[in-house]
Subunit: 271 residues, 2 copies
């Protein structure tokens, strides 16, 4: 089942990278896409600097040197803009987690029964670094969960919804592979608990100054996931072995590099 899933991911990737020959129309489309991307990049920068609530279409257009009307031609509403941004952040996260999955399948080649648990432990280490090295991305995911206000209107929510589900499926499949869930519904529920609980634990970074002696976020999130996995029936020995594999993953590509998603994107673009 897990292999099936990996294959499906590959297929998707292949389809995406199949490019048509460039025509004038396709070049114009590319220009439009590049400007689209620029708007999203600047929006993310503004969010980084001043927070999501201070982002307005007015401020964004000023920052871009566009008229408000021109900006609305790219995004018909702030909700549509945030939805695109959120989709992009979730896509980048999914790409990183898929790359991690490939590496996990690789280091666990001689012990495939440990793929699931190693992957789950790897996600924890990844995410603790992601909080630090891609904080604006982590922040957007957190706000998606944590803010009682609806940031994305129903009509713009489709893309986000699809991506959240795909992410839960990815984690849920690992839960089944690790033997801590026996059917899909249970696996998805546990994936949701795992992901959201982890978000909560990592948010604690914020109150570090209230805790005597400070906090080790990697340690906290590891302890969190270890307790959850053991509580769901994982064997303590498997967790220990999985952590050895996670160390190998880190030696291959340090987690802080994996989690610096902007760095990864820059590298992909050959910058």
């Amino acid at each position: 089942m897990f292999t099936l899933f990996v294959n499906a991911v590959y297929e998707l990737e292949k389809r995406r990278s199949t490019r048509l020959p460039k025509t004038r129309l396709s070049r114009r489309k590319e220009d439009r896409e590049a400007r689209h991307q620029l708007v999203l990049d600047v929006a993310l920068e503004l969010i980084e600097e001043r927070g999501l609530d201070h982002l307005s279409m007015h401020k964004l257009s000023k920052e871009l040197g566009y008229t408000v009307g021109a900006l609305y031609r790219y995004f018909p509403s702030k909700s549509a803009l945030i939805s695109s941004l959120q989709c992009q952040v979730l896509d980048v996260l999914k790409t990183s987690l898929e790359a991690l999955m490939e590496d996990v399948a690789d280091v666990c080649a001689s012990e495939p029964s440990l793929i699931g648990i190693t992957y789950l432990r790897g996600i924890i280490t990844f995410y603790a670094e992601y909080t630090r090295h891609s904080s604006s991305h982590f922040y957007l995911n957190s706000r998606l969960l944590g803010d009682p206000k609806i940031l994305v209107e129903e009509e713009d929510a489709g893309g986000v919804k699809e991506r959240v589900q795909a992410l839960m499926l990815l984690i849920g499949m690992a839960m089944m592979q690790a033997g801590v869930a026996s059917e899909q519904q249970e696996a998805l529920k546990k994936a949701l608990i795992f992901w959201s609980g982890l978000h909560g634990v990592l948010q604690v970074q914020k109150i570090e100054r209230y805790v005597p002696g400070g906090l080790d976020m990697v340690d906290l999130s590891k302890q969190f996931s270890q307790a959850l996995l053991l509580g769901w029936g994982a064997s303590p020995d498997d967790v220990v072995c999985a952590d050895q594999y996670v160390k190998q993953l880190d030696e291959r590509t340090p987690f802080e590099l994996r989690a610096d998603v902007k760095g990864v994107q820059r590298e992909k673009r050959g910058e």
Copy 2:
């Protein structure tokens, strides 16, 4: 150790309720306190309506019918105001959790070894209802954790810090009593994981619309805490028994009433 702690809480409560006879000066002080409270109440209402980021000293003074200068006489800065608000929200939470503790000690009188685990399971049920019935309070606690921006400046953070630590101590003591932590540092760390992870899980309510079939928040948070407690070594039988006691607590005073903190406050004031 747990009893010692309960006694300390009682002592504190007793000291607080010892009132001096009313003089003109103390009446004036009471007036000031009432106005102080009014400012906080209106600020919380504004946050409920429009979100924390839209709260400004300017808007608040307008809503109160004060000049901005008059408002600054009560709170020297927005940071000081939010700090006071946060302290109050944490105080109310602590009062509710202490009242719960007394009831737990009562229903577990014949099986005192289950006090800790029953309390921890009770906190989960309480918090799931608190998210729903006192959402602005839950929201402030969530933002305290979840927002990367510093909402409360260092010089105003003392009160919040003290209260977060007291809360962690309360939960940590229950961890030790439940036998899932053997020394204080470990207990405090586990309390932090428990509380912050729970916050993360409850934030998921927000993305309910992305999940086919919806979400049962009480069930999710119970599953979360059960896995954590089992993972930390609690006996499954004890958890089952504890949940029976939590049912008794609910029959005594429904959790949705306990968690409606404004209702509890109104009742206390005899409204």
